[in-house]
Amino acid sequence: MNNGKIVAGIDAGHLNTKAVLIKDGRILSYAKAPTACDVLAATQNVLNEALKNAGVSPDRLSGMYITGVFRNMVETRTLNVGGTVPEYIADAKGALFLDNKARTVIDIGGNVHMAISFDESGNVLDVIENDKCAEGLGIFYRNMAKVLGVTEEELSELALRATKRVSVAIQCRLSAESEAIDLMCQGVEIEDIADAIARFIADRVAAMCTYVALRKKVVVAGGLAKSQAVIKHLQNMIKEEVSVGDLPEYVGAIGAAVSYGGAK
């Protein structure tokens, strides 16, 4: 890392934009805000917040690197953008930065999810992305929390207290949402429905992971990694130990900063 210099990594995702400041291999601060389809404003907002949290003035920033699905919308003159990084490269670099024994990262993002295997220096070996019907797991989780009348954290706690095994449609988030409500209308306990929801997400991600050779140590990134219920189900489906750092949704942003815009 260029010593003494502060680098910013931004991950402009479908749902949320995340920013992280790194100095001498140490994370100074991080911030998150909904993308809300105004990527420029969201990026500006999270960057200022991260700077405020770190008590650093903008001019001490030596460079800024962008990743995420909306990365091409941030290349403007007003922000001195050093470069953009494809998501799977940022995820690989970020996961390695947080845990140097990591060799595979499963990123369950707001809309798109993917699994990336990489070598010890973070070079991407293989990538698999979700197919169309499996899109929007983050949106699904948030919707189901609203339908059950709980917060996303409570949804995970509910799922962990489930007793009976019920299941919802596996095809797409809308069939699953519809059948979760159907189960509610049949008088099924909320806990069991929450468990079915977590299992649906883990099932879909696990099915995708069978295409890549999951190299030990598997790390999970993205907003949904914070749901213990999803992680519990994912682990016994892919039959692999997975670890979740304390900043799972910032892995992309960290990777962007760490890779210094190494890619194109």
Binding site: P86, V124, D131, K132, Y211, V212
Partner: protein, 439 residues
């Protein structure tokens, strides 16, 4: 400098003439049916038989008139067809329900030309049902469907060859009864020889893409094979493909290609033409990545040596072998024709997972591929979609492999944003591998 084919114009005009003859025929017989049926039995009825085929008509219409095609598919759904039925089928029946047909030269004819009879095959369980629906909607058109059985090395299985030959023999009697015409074995045998010759010639043309640079790319190939699909029984079609073979052989001698910048050679498995979408094409072109081989364009109407002691090879069959074929009796001609059609890669791969994998391994080996692009179609019941899942497992370790999530002609089911991401991913993985090997 990118080479441009001299025969291109005559190919386009042959295909358009066939379609126009069908649309505006005032006499003779209009026959529709699947692309995958042996066409020569129809030509025993005379020279005034006008054909339109099924799938490539839908594919080319969706290419030339995308808005019309989209309304056709929705029209079929309004007509009650299933939302997950085959999108070729829905486009075809949509044209009937909306009472207008569009063809590759852009003309849209109001008033659906009613076919006199339907001559088709049972490939997937959608296929014969497609034309049963057409027959019912148009008031009961006589229809004959051949059960081709298919499967790996089917042309070497005497039981299947006899079964399909018996059906064609019974089919010829049916044709005579339905049309009231006498069947001319002489016309039939001439048509059989032409049909087999064109199929073998197309195999030879495709095999030339093994060279580097490959003379043709998938975009040209997919535009050059429809004439062989619509009507490959005429002397004119044989001349067409002989002239194309000569020209491509010349290109190989002089190292010419329609896409000279071929830094990466891609093998393509899929019916959907998602690679042809502007954005995807741009990403591939900028990276110098060209599709040099594809199972659909090679295998839908092309013959190769196929399974030679357990292994598949895309090596071509010598065209002169066709001239020596003994077609002296009707039964012999039928059996040779059946063996050739059962030899098509698509027929073999549809019902045998091991055959599709052998074909893929051979294609990646013989065409020296740097990347494998898979495009399963959501609406297509066969399209070896499970083969693609198995192919991913086999090839991911060897060469960069990416799978689109697409559909034949229903643009609503094509994941274009995902395809953009995955095309960029394929190019980056191929670049990384080339750099990795170089290191």
């Amino acid at each position: 400098m990118a080479y441009s084919l001299k025969v291109w114009g005559s190919f386009k005009n042959y295909q358009n003439t066939c379609y126009r003859n069908y649309l505006y025929a005032s006499k003779g017989l209009r026959v529709i049916g699947s692309t995958w049926s042996p066409l020569s039995p129809l030509k025993g009825l005379g020279n005034d038989i006008f054909l339109m085929g099924g799938e490539p008509h839908c594919a080319s219409k969706a290419g030339t008139l995308p808005e019309e095609a989209r309304e056709d598919i929705v029209g079929a759904e309004i007509g009650g067809l299933g939302f997950h039925s085959c999108s070729y089928l829905k486009l075809f029946i949509g044209e009937i329900l909306r009472d207008k047909v569009g063809i590759t030269d852009g003309t849209i004819k109001e008033g659906y030309p009613i076919p006199d009879l339907i001559w088709t095959t049972h490939l997937c369980s959608q296929h014969s049902k497609w034309y049963q629906e057409v027959s019912r909607r148009l008031g009961g058109i006589p229809m004959y469907a051949i059960d081709m059985v298919g499967g790996g090395a089917a042309e070497k299985d005497v039981k299947i060859v006899n079964y399909v030959s018996d059906q064609i023999e019974a089919g010829i009697d049916w044709l005579e009864r339905v049309t009231g015409r006498d069947f001319s074995d002489e016309l039939f045998v001439k048509a059989v020889r032409n049909e087999i010759k064109v199929l073998v010639l197309w195999g030879n043309i495709c095999a030339l893409n093994m060279h580097s640079p490959a003379p043709l790319d998938e975009r040209r190939l997919i535009a050059l094979f429809p004439p062989a699909i619509v009507d490959r029984t005429t002397d004119e079609s044989v001349k067409l493909y002989e002239s194309l073979l000569k020209e491509v052989q010349e290109m190989v001698k002089t190292g010419q290609s329609v896409t000279p910048d071929q830094r990466y050679r891609i093998v393509y498995f899929g019916i959907a033409h998602t690679y042809g979408h502007p954005e995807m094409a741009r990403i591939l072109r900028d990276a110098g990545a060209e599709i040099v081989a594809s199972v659909y364009t090679f295998g839908t109407c092309g013959n190769f040596r196929g399974i030679v002691n357990g292994k598949w090879t895309w090596e071509p069959i010598d065209p002169h072998w066709v001239d020596g074929l003994d077609l002296s009796t009707r039964r012999k001609a039928i059996m040779e024709l059946v063996k050739i059609v059962l030899g098509w890669p698509t027929w073999q791969g549809v019902r045998s997972y091991w055959a599709i994998e052998e074909m893929a391994k051979a294609m990646v080996r013989e065409y020296k591929a740097d990347g494998l692009l898979l495009a399963p179609s959501r609406g297509c019941e066969t399209d070896f979609r499970n083969g693609y899942i198995a192919l991913q497992r086999i090839f991911r370790k060897e060469i960069p492999t990416v799978e689109y999530d697409s559909d034949q002609v229903d643009v609503r089911k094509m994941d274009l944003p995902g395809a953009k991401r995955k095309t960029e991913l394929l190019v980056q993985l191929m670049e990384a591998r080339k750099k990795g090997n170089a290191r």
